[in-house]
Amino acid sequence: MFRRLFVIIGFFLAVASARGQGSPPDQAEQQRILLDRIQQLEKRVSELEAKGGVSPAPTPPAPSTPVVQTPESEPAPAAQAPSPGPAHEHEARDEQAAVRQVETHYPSLQVRGFGDVNFSATDQKGVNSGFNLGQLDLHLASPLSRKVSYFGEISFTAQPTGYAVEVERSFIRYDYNDYFKISFGRFHTPIGYWNAAFHHGSWLQTTISRPEMVQFGGTFIPVHFVGFLAEGNIPSGGAGLGYSVGVGNGRGSTISRAGDAGDINDNRAWVANIYARPARLYGLQTGVSVYRDKITLSDGRSFREWISGAHLVWTKESPEFLAEFANVNHREVFTNAVSNSQAFYVQLGYRLPWFEKLVKPYYRFEYTHTPLSENVFGNHDLVGSTLGLRYDITNYASFKGEYRNTKRKTGDPTINGLFLQTDFTF
């Protein structure tokens, strides 16, 4: 009988243990959240007391609060309702305060910074190992009205002689509805997935480095685009279709740069991207892109450029799957000589269920081929593998470690490298 008793107790203890392991309540995190919340509430109470005064008799709410009267922030019905008695007045005042607190005021500038610190060591001849400061990136977002917003991004990149400051993105967007939004300015070109999904903050992406085909300062695809961009959803039910269509200056005479200060020819570049996010497969996105431009190099030669790309991604983290392909076609206007270069990458990551889901190993394979006939951006050949681990120290900072194995042209040595990074947003 006692044996049976022990078996039953053992069974329940095992179940209890499994339950404890199955639910991941991070008590320290919850306590921190609660403390934050208490502080926020205390702050709110202080603000309300300061605004309402400490007079024992409740006074009617000031109807001329600038926030409520701003044309762009329409006064809420509750804020206009008369208050028949002290209790109602008090309730109305609380209600007004709550509404005011969450109303968006215009303009409402939000600044977010991204930074990273890196260490690298490779067996490439002539390259020293050591630390570097990476990029400091500031992102600005400011709603100017209910339908107009400004977005900007400024980066500070460490150079041997100082810091290079660059306006990475700067545009104003007008929303008509979900189906039509139009922006003017400088964007990351919506070719494929990575270039429009991950910008300069390394913290946003799983890996330390971007794939070679979308490298900042790279030339394979035009990373930046100056002009206008229309985007939105396409009424398509569960297919979840969306689009981006843009017209702009295209590449500058320095092939890696967009024509920020003006086009180098009278031919506008255009880009079109269509994608699907099926409702039944939450996390899946697939799409195709095309880009057309006429490039005029500094030596006077001109080329017609056609870029076509496709992507398939699963944006959840267990697993995360990103795959993208692009073909770049160049045809010299004078000689009609044609070249086609291809690049793709496949990246797989998985946020492990253990360690409070803070650890995410990943692997990426990438390949770039440029033929000898390619005249616009020279040789880009690459076969590379990246194996790494991301550990999220907090919700807003991570450590990453990567081993990379890359080989360029035939006959070049294989390069092995160790890369470490801590990146964060603030």
Partner: protein, 165 residues
């Protein structure tokens, strides 16, 4: 009472005690059972959304009810059960993933601001009543009459197979 009966009684008490302990601890960790109603302002021109459409709204992929009425997302502060259900069923994200999602969303310029945080149900009722286009999530037992409760996948809170619980 013979020895066998004593043992049976002892075993029964142990089973009852452990069952009670397990039930109470699990209830404390993951409170379940009550439906979470999706509530909107009376002027919002929707009454029935599929779960996928609710997800699209909460992900910021649908930002307008119509061209004149933007969606105003309201979400309870951390630890509230309404937030847990929204994160688990709709976003299918952890708290950390949810925060990172909105940082990335704004950084990609796909949204100008994240969902607005509300600290109590009263505050949420006031905001949904006062702000045209607002959508919030409240315990179905305490829904007020001035709010419109949306059907989700054709079901109201309390219906069999209602998805938000």
């Amino acid at each position: 009472m013979n020895a066998t009966s004593k043992h049976r009684v002892a075993v029964s008490w142990v089973v009852i005690w452990i069952s009670f302990h397990l039930y109470s601890s699990s209830a404390a960790q993951t409170p379940r059972g009550d439906d979470i109603a999706v509530v909107v302002n009376q002027e919002t021109p929707v009454s029935d959304l599929s779960l996928a459409e609710v997800r699209k709204v909460l992900l910021g992929e649908r930002q307008y009810w119509n061209s004149k009425l933007p969606v105003v997302l309201l979400i309870r502060a951390p630890v509230a059960r309404e937030r847990d259900v929204v994160l688990r069923v709709i976003y299918q994200m952890t708290e950390a993933q949810f925060k990172q999602y909105w940082v990335a969303k704004i950084f990609r310029a796909e949204a100008a601001s994240p969902p607005k945080i509300v600290y109590s149900n009263d505050m949420q009722y006031e905001l949904v009543s006062a702000l045209p286009g607002a959508i919030g999530f409240v315990d179905a037992r305490s829904v007020r009459r001035e709010l419109k409760v949306l059907r989700v996948d054709g079901r109201l809170p309390g219906d069999h197979d209602y998805p938000l619980r």
